[in-house]
């Protein structure tokens, strides 16, 4: 049995005149104990998908099950065995760290003590501040507390909707380390994020855009499917370089990527020499060009433009 199965789910919003399709025939499966990422920009349909799976929304078509239970008919069973952290950490700002945790533990019919071992590693960092109001915590600390609250009843499946949005790079890194540790405890985790670089930390990912899943696979396999040769190019004048490369006759695609520009050529047979000549002719200097490994963001861009 899978931790999550999603079968041809459709979700539409709005009136009859103007409908927005948030999810357009989405299907996926998450295996038990898997760390599964749903990756896409805002408005791609991530939150709708999470709300359908956490029994908070009804789909317009299709079926879905969590831990073997139907999200519509058996929603009560699901609510007893999942953990959910909605976008924007849902904590009571005027309650202290400990009061928040105790509240959610009791609401889920358990106690902090009963499942302390599960949250121990995360909570011990918060313990020095346990009397502090949640509203006075930093983004990273709030995120940790919200995770503790979602975990305190030892859920079978954990749903985290954009847990790292607006959190700085250090806290993001720590958060993903925590998720990997939780995975070891056998909890299946579904996490959504708009940050492409986080895809590589998941076992498998679904790339989602405008309500449609563009690809589902392990990050490595998705990257393998990118068969074209990817060049990285830089010069002293990066913006002019970008414009010039985009104008170049053999360019299929060129866009900025960190300190380089990523370039895909229409015809790879010629190699890099004609490109170099073209750039030198345009009096670029300090030109560097080499073959590079594409990453998930390149794949996302490629899939988007198909």
């Amino acid at each position: 049995m899978q931790a999550v199965t999603v079968d041809h789910i459709v979700k539409k919003y709005g009136s009859k005149k103007e409908t927005v399709t948030a999810l357009d025939d989405v299907s996926l499966e998450v295996a038990k104990g898997e760390l599964f990422g749903v990756i896409g920009p805002d408005g791609a349909g991530k939150t709708s998908l999470f709300r359908i799976l956490t029994t908070l929304l009804l789909a317009d078509a299709g079926n879905a099950a969590v831990d073997g239970f139907d999200v519509v008919k058996q929603y009560k069973e699901i609510r007893n065995r999942i953990g959910y952290m909605p976008g924007k950490f849902s904590l009571y700002q005027d309650l202290s760290v400990e009061e928040n945790l105790r509240f959610f533990a009791t609401i889920f019919n358990t106690s902090i003590e009963e499942n302390y071992d599960l949250i121990k590693e995360i909570y011990f960092q918060l313990e020095p501040f346990k009397t502090r109001r949640a509203g006075k915590l930093s983004g990273g600390m709030k995120q940790k507390l919200a995770l503790c609250c979602a975990l305190i009843h030892r859920p079978v499946v954990l749903f985290l909707d954009e847990p790292t949005t607006g959190v700085d790079a250090v806290s993001r890194k720590e958060f993903w380390e925590m998720l990997r540790n939780l995975k070891k405890q056998g909890i299946s985790i579904l996490v959504s994020t708009p940050y492409m670089d986080e895809a590589e930390l998941c076992d498998r990912v679904a790339l989602i855009q405008s309500g449609k899943i563009m690809s589902i696979d392990s990050p490595q396999s998705i990257i393998k499917q990118f068969t074209k040769k990817m060049w990285s190019v830089r010069s002293a004048e990066m913006f002019r370089l970008l414009n010039d490369l985009q104008q170049y006759s053999n360019t299929e695609k060129c866009y900025a990527f960190g300190e380089f520009h990523h370039l895909v050529l229409k015809n790879d047979a010629e190699g890099m020499d004609p490109v170099m000549h073209y750039l030198e002719h345009l009096s670029h200097h300090e030109i560097e060009m080499q073959v590079t490994q594409p990453n998930i963001e390149d794949c996302f861009i490629e899939l988007m433009s198909q």
């Binding site: 920009p41 805002d42 930093s138 700085d168 790079a169 250090v170 708009p194 670089d197 970008l242 963001e297």
Partner: protein, 247 residues
Amino acid sequence: MKEAVITVNKLTKKFGDFIATNEVTFEVDKGEIFGFLGANGAGKTTAMRMLCGLSMPSSGSATVAGFDVYKQTEKIKQNIGYMSQKFSLYEDLTVTENIRFYAGIYGMARPAIKEKTAQLLNQLNLTPEANTLVKALPLGWKQKLAFSVAIFHEPKIVFLDEPTGGVDPITRREFWNLIYQAAERGITIFVTTHYMDEAEYCNRVSIMVDGKIEALDTPRNLKKTYNAKSMDEVFLQLARGAKRSDD
């Protein structure tokens, strides 16, 4: 040829015992894209507020577009643009109404506004949406519009506070193209971001840790100095040592 548009010298802001920004010193040149990085609570927002003339420094000195942050805050405000994560656009006004409103605030003349609005809408491919309410636009369009509105009055400097949250990679690049174009025209860009690959797009990057600027250089030199493959690594090396984490 280098001409500094922002000069900051030992700028400090204290809130009681707490030193939010601690003797910060740097310069930003005309037309430069300057990345202002730091973990949550490192003091970025406080520093940016002082430079925008919204907050009085405790000590030190700074000039923005040639004006003093203590005495000439009104002059500073005339010469800068500002855009934050939350876009600063009115959702219930149309695209044109938003542009007209902001241009009006900066005292632009009506015919100039009209002409430039048409030009801008054309450039952003927004002409068909001129009379659409902003809330009906996709997120990426809103961000681009917000940025264009922020530089509509041709400020000397534009401050961008985490401008690109949550958009798809293509839209994000389109946004950065707008930033590059503005910089080409000589507008100085002062930007904070959580995306470390965006830090690479900047001419120079400063990284704040616990109220101080720990590093300031081109992305390339920073990576060399810290022996790192990416800006992400540089940032982690520096910010991991942070003691403060409060916003």
